[in-house]
């Protein structure tokens, strides 16, 4: 009788499609959250309402945890085979998510905030939680935001997608092609989530927010920029002197977790040192290339 155990390296005839593994990643998370009493919302990917964007691929599981319970969840996850491979501080310029990996279920992005919502992450989570519903993933009932809230979150995600074709398709499906009544419902969620700055990228009104400390962060995310510009934006967006110094310090430290993933093995002290000195040089080269292109453009 054909029963196969699908381990890390599936045997012939026992391969498990990626979407099945990701579904089980969501199920695993919900199972853990239920047992440790944590609130969790499954977002994007497999959890996305299929009527929003009919055909949309995904390669990992995304979940948004109640901010005050993130530490609890991280500890629980590591006790159940989930390995932390990128911490919050090094995850992205928004420092919003940590990446974990499971040998059977694949990759997971654990969000402590959803970029664009705020400024109080706990209040934003409460708003989403208030109207949440459920969907079955991997055979387990998982909590998801309401359909209109999902639309607003997807647009905030697309807002920092730059020229990514997937982001453009999301905007077309969820905003450009919908009627005014649906847009009003999305705008209501943007207000509830205090997400005006990020959403202004979608409506083409980002310049109205030039005085916002996080303006540069969104400008770089939406339009692109060099590493130096990205780090400057992160420093500007960080709260208080202590936060700004912390971000500035990270900008010159090497993310050993990430380097280990990139190289596919533990890295030596020498490699960490080489990366330390190589990264500022790369940032400078990018800056110079950008200025060179700008001058060529000016001269044309």
């Amino acid at each position: 009788m054909a029963t196969h155990e699908a381990t890390e390296v599936p045997t012939a005839g026992a391969s498990v499609p990626l979407e099945v593994r990701i579904g089980f990643a969501h199920a695993s998370l919900q199972w853990i959250a239920d047992r440790c009493g944590a609130d969790l919302l499954h977002v994007k990917g497999a959890a996305l309402d299929p009527t929003l964007v009919p055909v949309r691929g995904y390669s990992d599981a995304d979940v948004l945890a109640r901010p005050g319970q993130v530490r609890l969840l991280l500890d629980e996850l590591r006790g159940h085979g989930w390995e932390l491979i990128n911490s919050f501080a090094y995850g992205s310029s928004f420092e919003h998510s940590a990446t974990l990996r499971h040998k059977d279920f694949g990759l997971l992005d654990l969000h402590r905030i959803f970029p664009g919502t705020g400024p109080d992450p706990e209040a934003a989570f409460d708003e989403l939680w208030r109207d949440h519903t459920t969907v079955t993933l991997g055979g387990v009932e998982c909590a998801v935001p309401s359909r209109d809230a999902q639309a607003a979150l997807l647009l905030l995600h697309a807002a920092r997608g730059g020229k990514d074709p997937k982001a453009a398709l999301d905007v077309e499906a969820v905003w450009t092609s919908v009627d005014e009544a649906q847009r009003d419902r999305i705008r209501a969620w943007v207000d509830r989530l205090d997400a005006g700055l990020g959403f202004s990228v979608i409506t083409g009104t980002l310049e109205d927010h030039r005085d916002d400390p996080a303006y540069d962060l969104w400008r770089v995310a939406a339009l692109g920029g060099t590493r130096v510009e990205e780090w400057r934006a992160r420093v500007r967006a960080a709260h208080g002197l202590r936060g700004k110094v912390g971000v500035a310090a990270r900008s010159v430290l090497v993310n050993v977790e990430h380097l280990t993933i990139v190289r596919g093995r533990p890295v030596s002290r020498g490699e960490v040192l080489a990366e330390f000195f190589g990264r500022p040089a790369r940032g400078l080269r990018e800056q110079l290339r950008r200025r060179g292109r700008k001058r060529e453009g000016d001269g044309a």
Binding site: M1, T3, H4, A6, G13, V20, A27, G139, V140
Partner: protein, 93 residues
Amino acid sequence: MTSAFRPGSHTGVTVSDDGQTVYLAHLPAGPILVLEGAAAVIWDEGTTAPAEGWVERVAASVGEPSAAIWADVEAFVSDLRERRLIEDGPPDA
């Protein structure tokens, strides 16, 4: 009306779109198990109400008399039970 058995409280389940393959996961930490062919049919019929006559339905699906498959079905279900992938009785209220 109840089924012969139901997924365990620590079991994740996904059925392929064509219904030919059943994926089971021990939650929360794995592993994933894949049921194909007759194993998938047994899972499908065993978790579908009514419980009465479920082995006969499996037999009809695979084109064999019930008596010929009974022992194999019994062994397979015992294996699932030992792995704590199934539980007997009606679902929790």
